[in-house]
Symmetry: C2
Subunit: 346 residues, 2 copies
DNA sequence: GTGAAAGCGCTAACAC
DNA sequence: GTGTTAGCGCTTTCAC
């Protein structure tokens, strides 16, 4: 009963350009010109508009602007987990590039769940993000085809897309890095090198396995499946793997761990009393905080660079760069810190 | 044949509800009902609409929807740096709560820069986010008052806001945690305990200093400014501080480090040859990855819980919960791992 | 220089 | 059940 739908003094919500126009005694379009710094407005008129803006606490509604203009000046970033230092480093780089481009970033963690990845990506598309940077969790990206056809740019980072559209991709030299890491252990005399990594369903894990196998093959060594353990990282799993490996008739004298999480889980497991035995050499793929203090030799990649390169590629596409999908591969770097140089005991 | 009414081939952009309506031979509103699962649509009509949606690759434009409905179903999160594990843990928790609420998250890193914080927050407000979670970098939040008055909910996390609006705030028990950590060192016989932390301009650093001082006072010990060093964390700075401290006439036998970054920087500095001397006990505020392997005793807080509590508070406000601004304080927990139990050498 | 009118794609409030 | 008519707050013509 006390509903007064059209009382400007008791406005619900925020002032609009119309309100500012009324307050300044000018037309809507003039306010628009002032707000967007368009030329061709009398200085004193502009001043009056600015005063009204200040007085009413007006702030442009970018949602409405976006609806009219077509571009939202926002991108979507889907990673596996922001809480993982690898992806949070990547995120920060993407954010920084985006901010430079005047673009905001929706971030979402898929948790390595393909349906959650899809849900997030489609939600971002419904918001009409201009572009997407995706660390794919799933292997089927057909769902993206209509979105890409509709003009949403997409760049895949860290892993290539599965079945579906062929889009720009930035990965690191997974196989090459793993080969270098394995060769480093071989060079220190090791012949029984275990390979511990994430599930084979994950692209990077499989690529790194390939590098490991290449190194063995180059050295004329056989590939022994007993020395390989691939599953999602975790303490319990690392313990079980090490127990099994160390009980082998011909146990490993060195470990190559296939990503940051696996390396950390393995180091924890190695510290457990149950796995105590002769020391083993360790080289891990991915650098991690405090690896230096712990003296862990790693094959490092640069997550920030990965994010930056992916974002730059995306914005080049948004700026109109055409051409076939690119596939970039970033280098890795062996960082020697001690754990990988433990020689084979004669 | 060039003009297939169902699939307009030269349309710029994406199909709209209007296109779907035309293709299905129904009115716009019917499409809207189907898309939004509103009741009261004949099953066969709905089927025809679904078919048209499928055929055209239609996806609702949430930007337009939002403009009409008033709520954007998105929130803005401004933290110091996503690449910092503390904030990335917080981010993930916020994301998870938001996703449960059907809400997307804009994330931005302020880099401890007040103007960037302001810029991000205002950009989020221009997108008309429903709410904000802010780890304040600046000390003046007056700029937020019009936004909050306009109905944007805001929750401050990790640190309270500076001058400006009085909003919900979730912090941890900084002073209490620091007191417990310092008392732990005192209990092991230490009387000369250095305090290394971030700049005094940062709320948490100052609060933790307060707890440190309380512990000293309770033990009847004097507060010695020579033992206190507060500045942004970094390796060079940690080295310089330690060198100075160890050269004091009465050097510290224990260190209390005031946050994760400082602890890590200090541990690195302690490992440098230049600081080699008698071992010191160390207790750090904030847990960090691999602190367990390094045997570092810490006063742990739970960044994920901080994020979750802040997000839950925000969504309760968005759901209409009224009442005065709340100020929540989360507990900390002493985690004993060895470095803090090094006894004072007699 | 300035302004009126027509949408952007959708939902809300009513017709029928 | 279904359709029609107004807008949401802005930008884009194009007229003055």
């Amino acid at each position: 009963m006390r509903d007064d739908p059209d009382v400007p003094e008791t406005r619900r919500g925020r002032p609009t350009m119309n309100d500012v126009a009324a307050a300044a005694g000018v037309a809507l379009k003039t306010v628009s010109r002032v707000v967007n710094n368009e030329p061709g407005v009398n200085a004193t008129t502009a001043e009056r508009v600015h005063a009204a803006i200040e007085r009413l606490g007006y702030r442009r509604n970018d949602g409405a602007r976006t609806l009219r203009r077509g571009r939202t000046a926002s991108i979507g970033l889907v990673i596996e987990d922001v809480a993982d230092p690898f992806y949070s480093g990547l995120s920060r780089a993407v954010e920084d590039v985006a901010l430079d481009e005047g673009c905001l970033v929706f971030t979402g963690s898929s948790g390595e769940d393909a349906s959650r990845e899809r849900e997030l990506v489609l939600a971002f598309c419904a918001r009409r993000v201009d572009g997407l940077i995706i660390v794919p969790a799933g292997t089927d990206h057909d769902y993206l085809t209509p979105e890409i056809d509709a003009g949403i740019a997409a760049v895949f980072a860290d892993r290539p897309p599965g079945a579906g559209p062929d889009a720009d991709t930035v990965v690191c030299d997974n196989a090459g890095g793993a080969r270098v890491g394995t060769e480093h252990l071989l060079a220190h005399g090791h012949r029984r090198i275990a390979f511990l990594a994430d599930s084979p369903s994950i692209f990077t894990a499989t690529e790194r396995l390939r590098g490991y196998r290449e190194a063995l093959a180059s050295a004329g060594l056989p590939y022994d499946e007993e020395l390989v353990a691939m599953a999602p990282p975790g303490r319990a799993r690392a313990l079980a793997d090490l127990e099994r490996l160390f009980r082998l008739a011909d146990p490993p004298t060195a470990l190559f761990t296939g990503n940051g999480r696996t390396t950390v889980a393995t180091l924890r497991a190695l510290a457990a009393p149950i796995t105590h035995g002769p020391p083993v050499a360790v080289v891990g793929f991915d650098d991690f905080e405090l690896a230096d203090l712990l003296g862990i030799t790693v094959v490092a990649q640069d997550p920030a660079r990965l994010g930056r390169v992916a974002a730059e590629l995306l914005f080049r596409r948004l700026a109109g760069e055409s051409g076939p999908p690119q596939r970039l591969e970033l280098p890795t770097r062996l960082v020697v810190r001690g754990s990988g140089e433990l020689p084979l005991r004669g």
